[in-house]
Symmetry: C2
Subunit: 217 residues, 2 copies
């Protein structure tokens, strides 16, 4: 059985729950989830760093003790051979292109703005970064909106791991103060994802984080 | 013939020249390089943004006008079916894992510190970021050093696109004020790469940039 070390409010971790849900794999039967609170140092213990020197979630362990890190590489591994990573080499390269876009041009702004709003103190000096993060986040969403004005999915052959990777933090971008109102094609795409067979929603965030977010917007 | 839109001092762009060199492909015969000065707005023109709304280099165009962006996705496309992206699904996932590490935990610090030193004015307010960028850059290099203390390569089956991706900005990290002296295994790995068949060195940077770097260290 696969073990996932993950933090439930993390979009990067939620990507794995989403794909596993679509693949019909059930928590407890097909995989085990070890809740790992990366916001409170659980990925910085000597035990964790021995497995992942980069100190991040998600991380998976196979039944025979092999380890894989980086959410989008884990998506690739889980999806290979399924419809969620299909097509010829060119089409698969386009899917990977969107996944690299997600990690480089989207997550560092959209996810980090949300993290600062919900997971740092209201007087954190990091909050001075929010205007810049929100501006860059909107730039990423505008690139997505442009693509979605002409395509249903980021996967070249249909819904797949590029869509899952980009959904993870886009659907909760407003928790970082990044409004989605100006992106109609993007909002329609979020809805199409949420009606896919086996879709698993992100668990509700804790009251403490929701309260901070409410006071950050 | 493939057309590459690239900026020669960019490590992300240089990755493509490196892989094409290893594959025995020759500029002018097998591919065309259009020098695109992303540091001076060449990726922000309406013509460029019509092809790549994210406004970055590198970008490739195939002979029939199809476009692919994101350096590591282009590496994947060029390397598929060669020894530079080999192995079973697990091994290929490990290769991709290092490539996502490169774009998320390495490039935003190691490459950006170098860019600020060489490509922004000596009184740029961005220079206030340098201490934090260098600290995070060293964290990434320490993760690499740990891996290289037990492995020759980042590719699970040997030298390949994960090594090329990580070489691109590591070899010039000192231009951003990130010293490599403390990383002996990493320096040995750089040397192994530079002795690979078909290795192409990064072209020398312009005198103006070298001068700024010299005054930044």
């Amino acid at each position: 059985m696969i073990t996932i070390h993950g933090y439930s409010p993390s979009g990067n971790c939620h990507k794995l729950r989403m794909l596993l849900g679509h693949l019909g794999r059930v928590e407890g039967r097909d995989y085990r989830w070890i809740e790992t609170d990366s916001a409170h140092g659980a990925t910085r213990t000597p035990e964790y760093l021995a497995k992942n020197p980069n100190g991040r979630v998600p991380m998976i362990e196979t039944g025979d003790g092999r380890i894989l890190v980086e959410s989008n590489a884990i998506l690739y591994w889980l999806a290979e051979g399924t419809a969620y990573f299909a097509g010829d080499t060119w089409q698969r390269a386009q899917t990977l292109s969107w996944m690299f876009f997600e990690q480089y041009s989207h997550e560092p702004y959209v996810a980090v703005a949300r993290f600062i709003c919900g997971w740092t103190p209201l007087d954190s000096p990091r909050r001075a970064d929010l205007p810049r993060l929100r501006e860059r986040g909107h730039q990423a969403l505008a690139v997505m909106e442009k693509h979605l004005s002409a395509h249903d999915w980021f996967g070249a052959t249909g819904y797949g791991i590029a869509d899952i990777a980009l959904y993870a933090y886009t659907h909760c971008a407003e928790e970082g103060g990044i409004a989605l109102a100006a992106y109609p094609a993007l909002r329609a795409w979020l809805g199409r994802i949420e009606s896919q067979p086996g879709f698993v929603p992100m668990p509700p965030i804790a009251a403490e984080n929701a309260e901070r977010i409410a006071r950050s917007l």
